[in-house]
Symmetry: C2
Amino acid sequence: MAEHDRADDRESAVETIQRELTSFARRARATAARMHPELSLVSFTLLSHLDEQGGCRATDLATHYALDKSTVSRQVSALERAGLVARRVDPDDHRVQVLHPTAAGAEILAQVTVSRRQMFGERLADWAEDDLTRFARYLERYNEASRAADEA
Amino acid sequence: MAEHDRADDRESAVETIQRELTSFARRARATAARMHPELSLVSFTLLSHLDEQGGCRATDLATHYALDKSTVSRQVSALERAGLVARRVDPDDHRVQVLHPTAAGAEILAQVTVSRRQMFGERLADWAEDDLTRFARYLERYNEASRAADEA
DNA sequence: CCACGCGGGTTGTAGAGTGCAACCAGCGCC
DNA sequence: GGCGCTGGTTGCACTCTACAACCCGCGTGG
């Protein structure tokens, strides 16, 4: 009957989404590393966040990206060693460090962002704009649900 | 002018797609590990491929998933130790080993597949079917372009 | 026929990324 | 002033990964 067919269609769409997202995830890290060895996927994400937010605390990064605080601590240390971020102690609360991208950090970030955008742009070059915006909306929607589920 | 605006829209859609895909990729591994510690994301993918294809060679896995052959070798070793895959020497060419999931492997794979599908299903529960199928199509399309670009 | 090149796999090594647990250091509230 | 909480670091262990060097079986051209 028709209801059953529709349930099957739904199942198979979910199946495809699962398979394709997983497949993408497997490749992403390696691709990113190959493209710009100087800034791993995680580092890029963190630095990018700092740039957008205009500085934040390590704990914020950890919770926002579902990473352990130790992981963030080490990543930040590495970024600092590389001269890409600076830490400033918050005068109001001497426990917290406010993180900022340095000038060098902002510059590298800009370069990597450009090259990443170019890469994505190439892969999406022949898409109609409607499809692009819909795709973007779907991804946002999925990730939002995903984040919500992770927190529960 | 209108043309400029449309170019901007395009840019921003690409930007969002980039950001959201990256964000997803970062989480995927950890999420997968948390869900079923007995089968990592890579192992799942490889085992899944073996199951679908009904057996193949290690080299095929390596090229298909853009992994080093040593990586595949070790993953397969682990899967064999766990009793989830079996290796048979190809009678025609004694260099190659044909890999198959064992009964236990097929069973675990089925379980994990179910739990993964359930997870994705939950996250996508309130989506209209049209959106699901479109999202699935977009992802396939993107990954295809991505694979093609990687090979070049 | 056999030596060499090639292709499939394994192993040694090294390094990134990660989480957990234990710890230290400020902060604030009894 | 002590106790608990929060932000952060460090020690440890583990997985995933690539690269390089290697071994073995296959086939082809002297």
